[in-house]
């Protein structure tokens, strides 16, 4: 039994971030539609309700740029735009993020994973988040967009400026966070504006150049549309994979019998990636704005409410998963929604899966046996469950 209250959910509670699964299970049996502590907004926990909402953007809208307050000047494309306008953007963007295209990025990501490991393997220990989980996805992003690897530090600073402005300014007053985000947002637009100017003058074989020349029904994207796509890629593609890498490694460090299964049979890694996405669901929740009154699991939800779709809870729902508390890398049927569902399915899901698989393969090939430093405990951030402190040791 969790000490957390399943009827009054606090996504920012440290215990929820560390181990949310018990709370999810209590929600399924007691309150499939709960309320958020403080804001009193609905929180949806059942798999069927969550996917139904995700598949009905005309009721559960993603058009909430203002409510999210992420330092943007316009909605991010395609995330904060609903069909039918969103469908046009997805038709243009999906081919650039297909499984095939993302697999082509695997060799440089594999090489970079090994460079990162080279830097700490002889020390016999590392803090995983800083040493591996943060830099790897950022490098993948730079590769994808065709940006110089030397911009790594700048990109980490820019996305943290939006996602966690308190990282750079620990004593930033709460009411000044929006202004800090807007400032970071402006820097993001400026950076991409300059880079797009360069690509216009000297085109290259990269995604930014492709966006400059791409057409939807015979029309090119406007400069603002391209900027609104770039803003999303920066915000969505970095933290999420960082968090998933951390959750996976924290799980495998704490469950050596599961780790040994991977070591004995590395072909299990793709299945392990899927199952840990289900069990850990690092992006625990996605928000939606309700466009008209609707009833889910017998509970009325009102137009104008900002609902939280708890995809982490959906992914451990016993109505949809056999023995959901069992972590099974061979699970025969895994319909997890860690990448969402419906028309807003994560554009970067194939990129994320490739990064996760390559990282797991290279790490376990080179550092098969590792553990959390005795006497220490991983520390999870709320919302997106990044393992912000994950001290690992291994035999040198």
């Amino acid at each position: 039994m969790s000490r957390l209250d399943p009827e009054r959910v606090n996504l920012f509670d440290a215990e929820f971030a560390r181990c949310p699964q018990h709370l999810y299970t209590e929600m399924h049996s007691r309150c499939p539609v709960a309320r958020m502590v403080l804001s009193d907004q609905p929180v949806i926990a059942r798999y069927e309700d969550v996917v139904w909402a995700l598949r009905h953007p005309e009721i559960f809208s993603s058009e909430m740029e203002i409510q999210m307050g992420l330092g943007t000047e316009r909605p991010m494309i395609p995330q904060q735009i609903d069909p039918p306008a969103q469908t046009r953007y997805r038709k243009l963007l999906d081919p650039h993020f297909s499984r095939r295209k993302m697999e082509a990025l695997a060799p440089p990501i594999r090489a970079h994973a090994n460079q990162l490991i080279d830097a700490f393997i002889d020390a016999g220990r590392c803090e995983f988040d800083e040493a591996f989980a943060i830099p790897l996805p950022c490098t993948a992003f730079l590769h994808l967009l065709g940006l110089p690897a030397s911009d790594l530090g700048l990109f980490l600073e820019l996305k943290d400026g939006i996602i966690r402005p308190h990282k750079a300014q620990p004593d930033l007053p709460f009411d000044q966070a929006p202004a800090a985000r807007a400032h970071s947002g402006k820097r993001i637009y400026d950076y991409f504006r300059e880079t797009l100017d360069e690509r216009e003058k000297s085109p290259r074989d990269d995604l930014l150049t492709a966006l400059l020349t791409a057409e939807i029904e015979g029309e090119r994207l406007s400069r603002n549309e391209i900027l609104d796509i770039c803003f999303l890629l920066l915000l969505a593609g970095l933290d999420t994979v960082t968090a998933t890498l951390g959750c996976n490694m924290a799980y495998l460090a704490a469950n050596p019998e599961q780790r040994r299964r991977i070591l004995a049979n590395p072909a299990l890694i793709p299945g392990a990636v899927e199952e840990l996405l289900r069990w850990e669901t690092p992006v625990t929740a996605v928000p939606r704005l309700v466009k008209r009154d609707v009833t889910l699991s017998g509970i009325e939800i009102r137009e104008g409410e900002l609902v939280t779709l708890l995809i982490g809870a959906a992914n451990v729902d016993a109505e949809r998963f056999d023995d959901p508390a069992r972590v099974d890398f061979d699970r025969a049927r895994n319909i997890h929604t860690a990448f969402g569902a419906g028309p807003h399915r994560c554009l970067g899901s194939h990129l994320a899966r490739m990064e996760l698989r390559v990282a797991m393969e290279e790490w376990h090939r080179r550092i098969p046996d590792y553990a959390i430093v005795p006497g220490e405990a991983p520390r999870y951030s709320p919302g997106i469950r990044e393992v912000m402190y994950l001290p690992l040791v291994w035999e040198r």
Partner: protein, 64 residues
């Protein structure tokens, strides 16, 4: 012969089917599922069912 049907209106490109059962399912340019032939050899029925069972959109049906 077993038959596989994909509802293109439901598919959003999770790609689970063509990763888990590449002999039955293919992908188009957007990464959405394509099936070249609805009728499949009986030997592939298990693969087809695995792909269908793992589709988060429940867009795939296998008969026979």
């Amino acid at each position: 012969m077993p038959r596989v049907r994909v509802d293109a209106a439901k598919c959003v490109g999770h790609g689970r089917c063509y990763v888990l059962a590449p002999d039955v399912f293919g992908e188009d340019e957007r990464g959405h599922c394509v099936v070249t032939s609805e009728e499949i050899p009986a030997a592939l029925a298990g693969d087809a069912r695995r792909g269908a069972a793992n589709c988060p959109e429940r867009a795939i049906e296998v008969e026979g």
